[in-house]
């Protein structure tokens, strides 16, 4: 079945089984590989992206649920890697292996949209992505730094 998805501002026509999870349509039909597969059951959050501004675990929803709604992946956070959240992540040298970090950044970005100055409790509640390397300590600092940078008007483009 052919359907259209608006991903990072570009309209893509996809001819895939409508039950194909959004993750695999993004990776294999749209061709963006920054969003990762890890557990396939919505547990770990490596596949987190935004649909209609909300962070969702894309391995566990059919791609067709995103029809008519803007999808943003890690590749769409900024054209140049200079979105405040990316600047903050780089400043803190947060990633280790990096595999979970696309999803981690997308979860944190959704939180920052909702709560521009999140508390530690907000972070605990909403950034529930799994990281096996144990980058949490720097990720938390990076979220607070990103909040500061965004408040100061260092804006990126999403």
């Amino acid at each position: 079945m052919a359907f259209e998805l608006l991903v990072n501002g570009t309209l893509h026509t996809v001819d895939a089984d409508p039950q194909t999870p959004l993750l695999w349509v993004i990776r294999d039909y749209v061709g963006l590989t920054g969003t990762k597969f890890s557990c396939g059951i919505g547990q770990c959050g490596a596949c987190t992206l935004h649909v209609d501004g909300r962070a969702i675990r894309s391995c566990s929803v059919p791609a067709t649920t995103a029809i008519g709604k803007p999808v943003v992946t890690i590749e769409g956070v900024s054209p140049d890697g200079r979105h405040p959240i990316q600047v903050a992540w780089t400043e803190l040298d947060a990633p280790q292996c990096g595999y979970c970090q696309s999803g981690m950044i997308m979860s944190a970005l959704a939180l920052l949209r909702q709560r521009p100055a999140p508390s530690d409790a907000d972070i605990d509640a909403q950034v529930t992505n799994a990281c096996r390397c144990g980058t949490y300590h720097r990720v938390r600092k990076a979220i607070h730094l990103a909040a500061d940078l965004m408040k100061k008007g260092v804006t990126g483009t999403v």
Partner: protein, 797 residues
């Protein structure tokens, strides 16, 4: 702990169980053509493997043929002064991409902002020999600030298990926290050799004595004439200018470092925050097909039958390939399972079809009889037997007989998988006399060997295109991911096959840390000091099990000491997993020290300190320093509210004095709510730098990460066996802690010592395990000796 413990007991290199597909008398080209005709549309025509190296894309970091001649095998300098530094280890998040480049750049004196790391070629490593000047390490290694950490190659191993002593890059494995230790001397030397040749080339060009030239920040200057040139301008000449006496080139000692020793952000971070990093899973090739795999869930099992017809017509499905148990000679003696792959246009199609394909397994009944309870019973029963005595000092039984008090405790640790975030995968193209493999791999030399054995194509024609790894934690590369993919692709010549495990399959294909048990028995004198210690461990053999951490000498002074081991045989493939058996052993040892201190009525920090002070261990002063510093940082002894407690432990490797060591101590402040909720509140870390850390920022990140790692081991994680199968096969059943459990406060302080570090990437923060246990005891009065703690009732009132 010996680096090569794991290799003991692995059968000698036997002829691999090669999957042959070439009919006799037909050459490979004819065979491929015939096969292509026979399979019709399936074979998409021969892809151009010679262009594989050029199949690059933004974020890809595998080896590329340089556009300008290399200065040496580690360094290519472009006319625009970009310096490509080739990295022979694998980036798993530990920072080797940056630290290896720093070591080269330190000596090369190039502009750090223009450094671009790239993986070294494992193919060239099969074709070329190491330059003579890299083969000798001056001095005594660890005790010489200018010396090196000589890799331990033992005898030449064609598989590259321990590296290959005379191949171009010698050691391409990434394991045992050894990349800096084993690489530093060679990498500094590689940078120095290239710098000297750049200087020589400029001297020749200008006809001036080389001694009058200086090199700094990629610029060569001749002060008296005012002439300057850049590395980029002179590099093509340097490539043709050999050094007349490379053996005279020396490396800088730590007091001369300018880049090494400074905190440098990791060079791959910009790619990782934009989603551009190419991991193995992200490889895409023209004509590529995807394979999803199921292997027999009971190790040692195989496929009895499968019904491809049932799924043949499903969307995208192309074919199915059955493959045997990977030859144990290619997987270090470990026996995994046979399986079947479904090949389709996309992975999701392959996986969906595979899930619906009827498969019957051939399950070895003796393996299906294993379960956690009976395996644990076997371990405990073994502890009642004398076992293999490895250390026997003094008169242990006589000392027990005169002891004022006897303390005995039995500890247990479960099987634990690596559970890295990126599931196992590899993309393989077998074509005319050439194999191309795109993979994130901690042991490319071994994978190269496997490819040659499975396909019959010589190692010199195997090309690995190395990718970053989504976590490693124990040598991705000797689990069977590469072997699966090579066997599947070998049955589909001419077609790039990207094999990807499901998360469930990844839990089968990983190697586990062995399940273990230990009984420690101490005899204390009237003052509470140990006069006899008997340690018995039982751990599945073959994977850094029994032989770790207790096997040389007791770290804490005791005159009469006996250590004996049991290594029963189970069917689970055990092996390298972050911290290996040592992490379990340090849990046993440090937990027992807390128990002894408690029985003696003494402070656990001062008890440990005194027992270290009584030893003759070469690094005892460093160990005492670590304890003192961590205690002081934590405010040890100051009051804490009810429900909070501090616990301390020592972490060391090499304290027996083999020339290198890594020493740290940590104090963990832990709270337990009345409802039994545990929180690691604060960690104070005192860590040895040796002569110097290459990138202290990466070291801090590794310490932080290992606190999380061993917190998970302590609190949450266990793999259990039922009917011979691993039960916890995805993250719903195998929990990983999240940011809400991260300690709010981590303080790290370093102190210098007079030796090189062994490494620190896998056995720091093991103290979390014993410390949480002791804190639970202090707060609740309950002592738990089996991990993880969250299976216990931790409530108190």
């Amino acid at each position: 702990m010996s680096e090569n413990t794991e290799e003991r007991g692995v059968p000698a290199d036997t002829e691999a169980n090669v999957v042959t597909r070439e009919p006799a008398g037909v050459n490979r080209r004819e065979f491929l053509a015939t096969l292509a005709a026979a399979q019709g549309a399936f074979v998409l025509g021969f892809w151009m493997p010679q262009k594989a190296d050029a199949q690059t894309r933004p974020g890809a970091v595998w080896y590329e043929e340089p556009a300008t001649p290399e200065v040496n095998a580690w360094i290519v300098i472009s006319p625009d002064d970009t310096v490509t530094i080739r990295i022979a280890q694998t980036e798993l998040g530990q920072g080797v991409w940056t630290s290896n480049a720093m070591m080269v750049c330190e000596e090369l004196q190039c502009d750090w902002t223009k450094v671009r790391p790239q993986y070294a070629s494992a193919n060239r490593d099969a074709r070329e020999k190491a330059p003579e000047w890299t083969l000798k390490v001056p001095g005594q290694g660890a005790t010489d600030p200018k010396g090196g950490g000589e890799p331990t190659f033992a005898n030449r191993d064609p598989k590259g298990v321990s590296g290959i002593p005379d191949s171009l890059y010698r050691r391409m494995r990434t394991n045992a926290a050894s990349s800096v230790k084993d690489g530093r001397y060679y990498l500094q030397l590689a940078g120095a050799e290239a710098r000297e040749r750049l200087l020589l080339a400029a001297a020749e060009l200008w006809s001036v004595p080389v001694a009058e030239l200086t090199a700094k920040n990629s610029i060569i200057a001749h002060a008296s004439s005012g002439r300057t040139t850049t590395y980029g301008q002179i590099a093509h000449r340097a490539a043709k200018t050999p050094h007349p006496h490379p053996e005279t080139i020396t490396i800088k000692s730590p007091d001369q470092w300018t880049l090494m020793g400074t905190e440098q952000k990791n060079l791959d971070v910009p790619l990782k925050v934009t989603g551009k990093t190419v991991y193995g899973i992200d490889v895409r090739l023209p004509g590529m097909k995807w394979a999803a795999v199921k292997t027999c869930p009971v190790y040692g099992g195989d496929v009895k039958s499968y019904d491809f017809e049932a799924i043949r017509k499903m969307p995208g499905v192309r074919s199915a390939v059955q493959f045997p148990i990977p030859d144990p000679a290619l997987t270090r003696g470990r026996v995994f399972s046979g399986g079947v792959a479904v090949i389709a246009d996309t992975w999701y199609q392959a996986k969906t079809a595979l899930d619906r394909m009827p498969i019957e397994w051939k399950i070895p009944p003796e393996h299906a009889a294993f379960n956690t309870a009976n395996m644990h019973e076997t371990l405990l029963a073994a502890l009642d037997q004398p076992g293999r005595v490895r250390v026997n000092q003094g008169e242990v039984e006589a000392a027990f007989a005169r002891a004022a008090k006897i303390v005995e405790a039995t500890y247990s640790t479960p099987y634990l998988p690596r559970a890295r975030m990126e599931p196992g995968n590899a993309t393989v193209l077998v074509s005319n006399d050439r194999v191309d493999i795109w993979i994130g791999d901690q042991s490319p030399q071994e994978t190269r060997f496997s490819a040659a054995k499975i396909t019959g194509i010589p190692e010199q024609n195997v090309h690995l295109h190395l990718c970053h790894l989504g976590g490693g934690f124990g040598r991705n590369g000797n689990g069977p991911q590469a072997e699966h993919a090579i066997m599947i692709a070998n049955a589909n010549p001419g077609v790039p096959i990207h094999m990807l495990w499901t998360r469930e399959e990844d839990f089968i294909g990983t190697t586990y840390r062995a399940m273990g048990a230990a009984r420690l028995k101490a005899g204390l004198d009237a003052d509470g000091w140990p006069i006899a210690l008997d340690v018995r461990t039982a751990m599945q053999g073959g994977g850094f099990g029994p032989e770790a951490s207790f096997d040389v000498i007791s770290r804490y002074h005791v005159s009469n000491y006996r250590y004996s081991t049991h290594a029963p045989t189970f069917h689970v493939p055990v092996g390298t997993r972050r911290g290996v058996g040592q992490a379990a052993h340090e849990f046993y040892r440090e937990s027992f020290m807390d128990e002894l201190a408690h029985v003696a009525g003494r402070d656990p920090y001062r008890y440990r300190r005194e027992l270290l002070a009584r030893t003759n261990l070469p690094y005892k002063d460093d160990m005492i320093k670590a304890l003192d510093m961590a205690a002081e940082m934590s405010g040890w002894g100051t009051p804490l509210p009810q429900g909070k407690a501090r616990a301390i432990a020592l972490e060391e490797r090499g304290a027996e004095g083999n020339g290198m060591a890594t020493i740290s101590a940590m104090v963990h402040t832990v709270s337990v709510s009345r409802e039994g909720k545990v929180r690691l509140e604060r960690v104070d870390v005192a860590h040895d730098t040796g002569f110097g850390l290459v990138n202290p920022l990466s070291v801090k990140k590794q310490i932080e990460g290992q606190i999380t790692w061993f917190y998970n081991d302590a609190m949450h994680q266990a793999s259990t066996i039922a009917d011979g199968r691993i039960v916890e096969n995805n993250f719903h059943a195998f929990p990983i802690s999240r940011i809400n459990e991260d300690p709010p406060e981590i303080n790290i302080r370093f102190f210098p010592t007079g030796h090189w570090l062994i490494g620190m990437g896998h056995d720091r923060a093991t103290s979390v395990q014993s410390a949480i246990g002791d804190a639970i005891f202090q707060i609740t009065g309950k002592r738990f000796r089996d991990l993880p703690y969250d299976k216990h009732d931790l409530r108190w009132s």
